[in-house]
Amino acid sequence: MTPVIMYSCRASDKLRNTLAVATAAITFILTLSLYRFVVGGGEIQLTLFEVLPNLEISMRLDLLSFCLAALASFIWLLCTIYSIDYMAKEHACGRYYPVLIFTLGSCQGIFFAGDLFSLFVFFELMSLIAYILVIHEETEEALKAGYKYLVMTIIGGLALFFGMIIVFELGGTVSLGVGVILHETSLLALLAFICFLIGFGMKAGMFPLHVWLPDAHPVAPSPASALLSGVMLKTGAYGLIRVIFHVFSPEMLQAAGWNNILAVLAVITILLGSAVALTQTDIKRRLAYSSISQLGYVLLGLSILNNNAITGAVFHIFSHAFMKSILFLAAGAIIWKTGLRVIADLKGIGRQMPVTMGCFSVAALAMIGIPPLNGFLSKWTLAMGALDAQMPLYVLVLLVSSLLNALYYLPIVIPAFFEMPGDNNHDHHDDHELEFNVQEATPRMLTVMIILALFTFIFGLTPNNIAFSLARATAEFLLLGGAF
Amino acid sequence: MEDQIARITSRLVVPFIQVYGIYIILHGHLSPGGSFSGGAIFGASLVLVALSFNLEAGSKQIPHNTASILESGGALGYIITGLVAIAMGGYYLSNKAAGFPMGEAGSLFSAGAIFIITIFVGIKVASTIVTLFYYIIEGEK
C-alpha cells in the first residue's frame, strides 16, 4: 500500500544495483496492483498518526494519485535501470542509489498524501533529497546551481507553509478528503492561493520562479535530470491540481477570476520557455528550458478548468514525462559516450548512434506535436479545452509554442542525421571527428529508451489508450467535485 | 602594610571584633543583626589580620583549605537543617511545626531551627569573605 522506502545496501555494487531496481520494480508493481481498485472508483483515506490536533500524516488513494504514482514509479524503474550503466563510471554510487530510491519513496508519498500537511512534508523531503541528486557531480557549477535550487526550494516550502496555515486557519482542516475546504473568497484566501502558486509553481518551473530549473537540471547526472524533469516537476503540477480542486473549488476560482493569474503566468511560461530554449547551446539546458514551457501547457490546462483542458493537462503530464525522459536519457547517452554537450557539435551523431538519436527524434517530434505521437494528442485536447472555454487565444499560444518547439528541436535532429560531423569546417570541430567513432550506448540503456519511445507511439496512435482514458476519467472525477 | 601602629591596634581590636561578630550571629533573632552582618564582621576581622600583618599571618589564622571547606560545610548545614524539617514532618525549613525545641521568647535558645541555621550561615559568610579576599588578592585559582 504505502510504498516502502528501502535503503540499498552498501555492501556490493551488484547487490546494490539489483536492490535498487528491485525496489523500483516492486513499487511499480504495487502501484499497478491498485489499478483495478481505483478504476472501480475506489478511494482510500488512511490516517497514520496525528502530529498535532487536526493535523495528521495520512495517506489517500484516488484516481489522480494512482495515475501519477504509476507514472512516477514506471519512469523511475526505467531510469534506475538506465542508471546502472550510466553511473558505472561515476563516483559515489553508494550515495546515489539510496538517494534515488528515497526520492522515489517521498515522491510516492506526495502522490499518496492524504492531506496538505503530509503533502507538504513529503514535498519538502523530496525537494531536499533531490538536492543531493542535483549536486551529485560536486563541481563548482553544480554546487552553485544546487545552492540556488536549495534556496528556491526553501522559499517555496515556506510559501506552502504559509498557504497551508491560512487554509488551516480558515477551514480548520487540511485534509484532502473532505472536498472543498475554502468556500468563500477573501483576502486571506487569495493570499493562500498565491502562496500555493508560489510553492508549487516553484517546483513546476512556472515563470517567474523558474530560475533554478535551467541551472539545476543540466548539472545533475542524466538519469537524475530525466527524473527531475520527467517526474519531479510534475509534483508541482500535482500539488496545484490538488489545491485547485480540493482546497478551493473550480467554480470559486472561476468566479473570483483567480485562475486568470495562473493562466497569464502559464502563457508567459510557455512562450518564454520556448523562446529562451532557442538561444541555448547546451543540449541539456535546452531540454531544461523546454521542460519549463511544457509544464506551462499543464498549468494552462489547469487554469482553463474544463473537462477537455484538464484531460489534456493530466495527459500532458503523462506524455511529457515520457518524452522528456527519453530526451534526457538520450542526451545522457550522448554525453556519456562522447562527452559533448554543445548542440553544434552534435552534427552527424545520428550515424554513429542511430538508435539513441532515433529515440531522441521520436521524442522531439512528439514534443513538437506531430501526429500520431502523444504530444499531439495532449495538445489537441488542450486546444479543444481552450476552444470550449471560448479562448481561441490560447490555441494560438499553443501553436506558436509548437512552432518554437520545432525551431529548437529540429536543428538538433536534422543535422544529427543528415550532416556530416564537422560540416561547417570550423577548425576546432575537426578534433571531434575522432571521438565520433563511437559505438551505440549499452543495450540496457537502449532498451530503456526504446521502451519509452514505444510508449510515446502507443499513446499517440490509439486515442483510447489506457493513459488517455485514465486522464479522461481523472478529469471527470476532479470536475465532479474532487473527493466525496 | 607593615605598619607598627596598625599592627598593635589590630592585635588589640581583633579579638573584640570577633567576639562582637559571634555575639551578633548568636543574637540574630533577638536583636538587630544576624548571621549576615555577624559573619561579615567576623570575616572582616580575619581579613584585618591579613592586612595589618601580612598575608602569611592571615592565612595562618584560617588556612585556605579550611576556609573553603567551611564555606561548603556552612551551606550544607543550612540545607540539611531545612531537610531535617521535612524529615520531621513539616515543610522545608519549617521551624516550630517540625518540632524543633522552642525556648522562651527573649532568651538565647528560643528560636529553634533559626538558631542552628544562623550559626551555619554565619560560618558560611565569614569563610566566604575570607576566601573572596584571598581570591582577589592572590588572584589565582
Binding site: - | A40, G43, G139
Partner: protein
C-alpha cells in the same frame, strides 16, 4: 528637625554619588563610596531598619570597600 537631618544626609548621599562618578582617582572614589555606605547605614537607622543598617555597615561598607581596595591594589589606581 529630624527631617532636616535626613534631608541633609540624603543630600550628602547624592554628593557622594556624584563624587564617585567624577573622581578619577579610584582609591578616593572607593573611600567616598564607603562614606556613602556609612551614610546609607545611618539613613536606614533613621528609617527604623536597624538590622539592614548593620548589614550595610558591615557588608556594604566594610567588605565591599575591602574588596575594592584589594582589587585596586592588584590593578591600577587611576582611571
Amino acid at each position: 528637625m529630624i527631617d532636616i537631618l535626613n534631608i541633609l544626609l540624603l543630600l550628602f548621599l547624592i554628593v557622594c554619588a556624584v563624587g564617585v562618578a567624577y573622581i578619577r582617582d579610584l582609591l578616593s572614589a572607593v573611600i567616598l563610596f564607603s562614606s556613602f555606605g556609612l551614610i546609607m547605614a545611618i539613613i536606614w537607622q533613621q528609617l527604623s531598619a536597624p538590622d539592614v543598617a548593620m548589614v550595610e555597615a558591615a557588608l556594604g561598607t566594610g567588605v565591599i570597600s575591602l574588596l575594592l581596595i584589594a582589587a585596586i591594589s592588584k590593578t591600577r589606581r587611576t582611571e
